[in-house]
Amino acid sequence: MNFVGKMARRLTAQRFMALVLCGFLAASLSACATRPANSQAAMASTEIKDPIEPVNRAVFKFNDVLDIVLIEPAAKVYKAVLPGFVRDGVRNFVRNLDSPIVVANELLQGNFGGAGVSTARFVINTTAGIGGLVDVASAQGLTYRDADFGQTMGKWGVGNGCYLVLPVIGPSSLRDGAGLAADTYASPVRIISRNTDNDWFYYSTTVAGAIDTRSRLIKAVDDLRKNSLDYYAAVRSAYSQKRRAMIEGDGTGAGNGAADMADIPDYDAQ
């Protein structure tokens, strides 16, 4: 192998994507730091600051078109063609591959109970669950929990930074985008795939996971699209609420604490 060939091989699509992501984050960081003059209005508009709203809206529109012409139809075909147990197998397999990252984040959050559950799930599902295809651990009461580095930083007290719509990936924030980059960089699946010249494995599981997730959100996305006046603003609001709940809530996603809930004033009492 000559040097140039090696270099060319190393500059794979994932490196290119990482470069694009880093560039995007860096560009937004400077945008976040130098807020426009009408920042008062921008800050009042939602829980999450959105100083680069025009850029975000453009990327959002691009993602929306991409979703309508490609991703949603693919998710619909996936849902129509494959029986439920196969789709569950895809979800379980991809989730299981992601377990080491979940465990690492739970440890970084000091959530040792959660890390124990996630580790047990990984061991049980990888062995008894045939490489992660079957979620046998759930039947034992070890239910799935998600954790990511954006959430970890949130628990450490790092703020959102500002709202950020990532190309293809979708709603994020400066903090969560950086978290995603870190999770991706640290992913054992990505590292092992690359080091064994099996990049295809990392890409195909990532794409399969994305299509599977999208196939489970068909109704929810449809509902928000139809029932909002400004779809962009509604998604931004939903994203910021969901992330806040993931950081401040108990992590089960079921909204167990009154603290997670928005307070609706009693107008008659005023």
Partner: protein
């Protein structure tokens, strides 16, 4: 010496003990009564949501229902069981105070139409989901948060929490939280963005609401918004 030094302090403790006993005796009848009351309230809110779910599933999901008839039924159920004034006022956020009486009136009417149409669409798309009420807990004011799950044929259960407010002897829903996303907050942020894009004028929202609810002709606005 030691006794004279100990004496006042032991009397002090006697008084303190007596006080403590008095407080416990005075508070004792209150404590079980309060928890019993809270339990009653939780149970009442849970059965309110269970009833609401049952009614909706039996009367609104019939496939053959004409769209007008479905809307009529949804409107009746919503106005009876949802505090539309509170939800609508919350969703307008700080712009409520800026709006004139006439704008507030128009807005509330359009807001009701909007949520009636939203729920009508949802029930028209009904696909065999089942409704299961879970636990309940107190949520401030006179509110009870009732947890529930919508069980789908294909897909994970959807967690929905209902904020139920005790009011004038009855109960009304003031917020619906789907997977930790408050519908009222989402709507408030949605509306705020529309108003800001329209230069901070509530009319921009009214116009958009009119066209999205099919009230454009009645409102006297041009259809293009």
């Amino acid at each position: 010496m030691t006794t004279s030094r100990l004496f006042p302090s032991s009397r002090f403790f006697k008084i303190l003990t007596a006080c403590a006993i008095a407080i416990v005796i005075a508070a004792a009848p209150l404590m079980p009564a309060r928890t019993a009351h809270a339990e009653d309230k939780d149970a009442a809110a849970k059965s309110f949501i269970q009833d609401l779910g049952d009614k909706a599933l039996t009367s609104l999901t019939i496939q053959s229902l004409a769209p007008d008839e479905r809307e009529r039924r949804v409107r009746k159920l919503l106005t009876q069981n949802f505090d539309i004034y509170t939800i609508g006022r919350f969703a307008l956020g700080t712009y409520w105070r800026q709006a004139s009486d006439s704008q507030q009136k128009q807005y509330l009417k359009l807001f009701e139409d909007m949520i009636v149409q939203t729920y009508s669409r949802r029930f028209a798309d009904y696909d065999g989901q089942k409704f299961k009420v879970g636990g309940a807990f107190s949520g401030g004011h006179n509110d009870t948060l009732v947890k529930s799950e919508i069980l789908q044929k294909d897909g994970p259960p959807v967690h929905v929490t209902w904020r139920v407010r005790a009011k004038n002897g009855g109960m009304k829903v003031v917020d619906v939280v789907v997977e930790e996303i408050s519908m009222s907050v989402t709507q408030r942020d949605d509306f705020r963005s529309v108003i800001e894009a329209g230069g901070g004028n509530v009319d921009a929202l009214l116009k958009k609401l009119r066209s999205s609810t099919g009230n454009a002709a009645k409102g006297g606005d041009s259809k293009h918004g």
